[in-house]
Symmetry: C2
């Protein structure tokens, strides 16, 4: 088993105190002074009305329900009714979670928290939960932004138990020939990379939640990956995955590929805790890259930039980075100082072929109307890993991992900022984007006097992009959640109107369930219900996720 | 709808008469003289005892059961009891099918053949079959080598109806922006490519059965693809797929990717006709490549060649071709004239970056101990598509599409030749290969006095290869099927012993079901049964495939 270490990896530390309501480490919230300055800057730059910085309700002032489930004597080592444990597993990190957490409203905390350290513990828990009619919520890093770990009121159940899976944290059987390792589902991103790093290998999967989320969470939600193209979704990196269900253990053999019927991994990946708890997986690793070639390209308008991305994606060159930031996204994140749509284009690898690959992709971008950022130092060959990047790409990376902290800081000065994402065919994107922008800006104008919508492409496929949107506005304070809900509904409705998907990689959870219902056939839900009835016959697992 | 044309594409013609028992066109069987010469050559080269060429039983001399299901008056347009139609849908193309067909033994023909031309016909068929307690066998090109379309005796059913889906043949809604098209499941490989070709696009999916098999068959069996690495399995080329089940239609939205829960395509792909009939799919296309760079590399021994393949696969260069032929495979197929393990290495694309990519891959091959074939003309840049290849690669391609014909010709001179395939991690391959070779050569020695086993890698993944084996021997004529069965059992047992998969891309059908049972957990089968019960509640579809 991997022993827990204090380490520094990619600048991430795990020994700092965590926020009880907001993203990540408590220190990431900043001081009132820095938040006041942030408010002033945002107010000036975006023309939004900010407030004086406010402070969250301290944990000890939060009125937390006692919990109505008695600790069963035979499971005392597995279960806890500790107030702090329960408080810190009441919410995920969706905007309503943050908002309520900030204001000290913690309704529907779990009655108990289970902390299994081996698969057999799950079997015990399932038996007990079925007999007591309790709901079990699998919980990894608790970073869900779609209310995947917050069931709310559950009138049909006698209580709620959160199953914290971080006890299943290990990296074992690392095989340098096959380049795979067996990894416990509760292993966080930094723990996992810390264990692989001494062997020169990496999973290289960096969702924005990387620092706190777990492999099990990534698998359960089919997380989107680091690479903008080609094998990048966590599915692609998974050779074997094991899920303990109330009806038994679903496991798959370790194979590079198989054509033997329905892919058994597909019944596990994306099951979002509704069919079982994922306990471990054998993951595909790669050596840390020794070559990187990258460049930033500017575009005068979004249609031109979009076409460039399409042509690059369709050339099957498979850049590791092909992220388009629209002018506002680039400006707001401090990537550029004067308006331009910015494409971050890069190739990583273990051979110098990254150079001609970049040349080929850059030629396509230029032919499509792009202008490479002028400094030739923007293209690097780097044997040291991640230290050296084009300046604009480095600024973007910084902003990327800071964004979730920024959301909490902005909340404290009266600003609502949140994101949503989708994927759709290239041919439908221009009309979708125009419609979405029109509808959301009008809505924010009507409800908040104004607001902003920014766009990036997180991933590009030969048949379409995955657009990712950020909206920012300053609602009347007492209407914050109402405005958030209205924007969320409008975005989901627009997504459905254009035949896009309700989520490319944020998962469904409870928040996106209406959107899922719109994009799947009723026969699909009948099949899913049949699977649920078979694997979780007492319906104890994560009620309300995926299925009503 | 695509009108049926006589055309010539990649050298394939579809207007020739088809064999009633063997592979493809009747003419592919050759004359007695050519088969006599083949027997002499094979006898000399492989040291096997061949017989005088024999002829198959002509169709009109075959004793075909009358069929016990009356044509229902309301479905006369959809159903036929025509003898020829029934005869030609009695078998797939597994070795026992060929052997029985050759000898005129056609047990268990379908009672009737249904030829739906629209999805609504399937609904009618399902209702009728459920009420009459009939089994329905979805049938595309009928090229299954795993008895996927031959249920044999069905004592629990009142009769058997083959559902020939070739009426669902069309290419529609070709979108040149998204590079996708909606394609009917009954469309054969040549029909599909003929419709795409005038628009400069291609699916570029070439299973060995390409000329006769259908898109629906490829999807139902998760066919392996043209490319040796990266997106190649038919799954990867599928954006949307529709399956009509007795419980309703499962369809998925057209999206480049989605993270919304369990991937709905995964309930359809690999279902092998046991859950419904696939009716159409929206497939990802690509332009025909304008650049190809390829080379053949020789290796002195198999371990060296294997390591070279592993290093190339793990460098994430994604060659389109990385097919290793062991010395016997290369020799028997006429690829080389003196013994060497041969790696066919190539890159295709729409930019000249194929050249540096090949350089990078070739460097890895040479570093691992390979010697590039000396003629520098072995590396090509080709703006005309497929015409120009390294000589050895061209000879391989020729042999690849001829192999199924060769099997029938060899059968007529007393030679049993068949193939099986698997996939497993690199680390397990050397021991597996040694064990398999030992066991099968010993078995062939004991039963036939000798025999040969040849190997190729059809696909290579970062974590393992997909080895593909051919065995050749001359069993005592009356023991041919028995020997075939013994070899098949021994290969499946060896595969299971080493934790390999029972099939990388030949599918499960009925032949591989025992192997599937060994490599999946019982919980998986419970889940699959639940799906089957939900989608095909009367168990009318393809009984005996995937599930007992």
């Amino acid at each position: 088993m991997l022993s827990r270490l204090v380490y520094s990896l990619e600048g991430f530390m795990t020994d700092e105190p965590r926020s009880h309501w907001g993203w990540g480490h408590a220190s990431g919230f900043g001081t009132p002074d820095t938040r006041k300055a942030l408010g002033t800057m945002v107010g000036t730059m975006l023309g939004l009305q900010t407030t004086e910085p406010r402070e969250p309700t301290p944990p000890n002032e939060i009125d937390l329900d006692q919990g109505g489930v008695a600790l069963p004597s035979e499971l005392t080592e597995l279960l806890s009714d500790d107030r702090e444990l329960r408080l810190r597993r009441t919410f995920g990190r969706s905007f309503p979670d943050l908002y309520r957490g900030f204001h000290g409203h913690f309704p529907h905390p779990p009655d108990l928290v289970a902390r299994p350290t081996e698969p057999a513990h799950l079997e015990e828990l399932y038996r007990w939960a079925a007999s007591e009619r309790l709901a079990l919520i699998p919980f990894g890093g608790g970073t869900s932004v779609v209310q995947g770990v917050t069931p709310g009121d559950l009138p049909d159940y006698q209580g709620l138990v959160t199953v914290d899976l971080q006890g299943l944290s290990y990296v074992e059987d690392l095989d340098e020939v096959d380049r795979v390792a067996r990894i416990g589902a509760g292993t966080t991103g930094p723990d996992l990379e810390a264990a692989l790093s001494p062997r020169g290998l990496t999973l290289r999967h960096y969702p924005q939640s990387f620092q706190f989320s777990t492999l099990g969470g990534w698998l359960a939600t089919r997380a989107g990956g680091h690479f903008a193209t080609n094998y990048t979704r966590i599915d692609d990196l998974t050779t074997t995955v094991t899920m303990v269900t109330p009806a038994g253990t679903l496991s798959t053999p370790q194979l590079p590929s198989t054509g033997a019927g329905i892919d058994p991994r597909s019944l596990i990946l994306g099951s979002e805790g509704a069919l079982g708890c994922i306990t471990e997986a054998v993951m595909r690793l790669r050596p840390r890259h020794t070559f990187r070639s990258s460049v930033t390209v500017h575009f005068p308008d979004l249609p031109t930039a979009t076409e460039a991305c399409r042509h690059i994606a369709q050339a099957h060159l498979f850049p590791s980075n092909c992220r388009l930031l629209d002018a506002r996204e680039a400006l707001f994140n401090g990537v550029v100082s004067s308006p331009a749509h910015v494409l971050l284009l890069g190739f990583e690898g273990t051979t110098p072929v990254t150079e001609p690959l970049l040349e080929a992709a850059l030629k396509i971008a230029i032919d499509a109307g792009g202008t490479p950022a002028s400094d030739p130092a923007h293209r690097h060959r780097d044997a040291q890993g991640d230290s050296d990047r084009p300046e604009e790409a480095g600024r973007w990376r910084q902003a990327f991992f800071e964004a979730p902290y920024l959301q909490g800081r902005l909340l404290s000065v009266g600003i609502l900022a949140d994101t949503f994402e989708t994927a759709l065919p290239w041919s439908r994107f221009p009309r979708f984007h125009k419609d979405l922008k029109g509808r959301l800006l009008a809505l924010m104008k009507a409800r908040c006097g104004g607001g902003h919508l920014t766009l990036r492409f997180t991933h590009v496929y030969p048949d379409g992009p995955a657009p990712y949107y950020t909206f920012i506005c300053a609602p009347p304070p007492e209407q914050t959640l109402e405005v958030w809900r209205a924007i969320k509904e409008e975005s989901m409705a627009t997504i459905a109107d254009h035949g896009a998907t309700v989520t490319h990689h944020h998962a469904v959870g409870r928040r996106h369930r209406p959107g899922l219902a719109r994009e799947r056939s009723s026969t699909f839900f009948s099949a899913l219900k049949a699977l649920k009835a078979e694997l979780d016959p007492h319906h104890i697992l994560n009620p309300g996720v995926l299925l009503p």
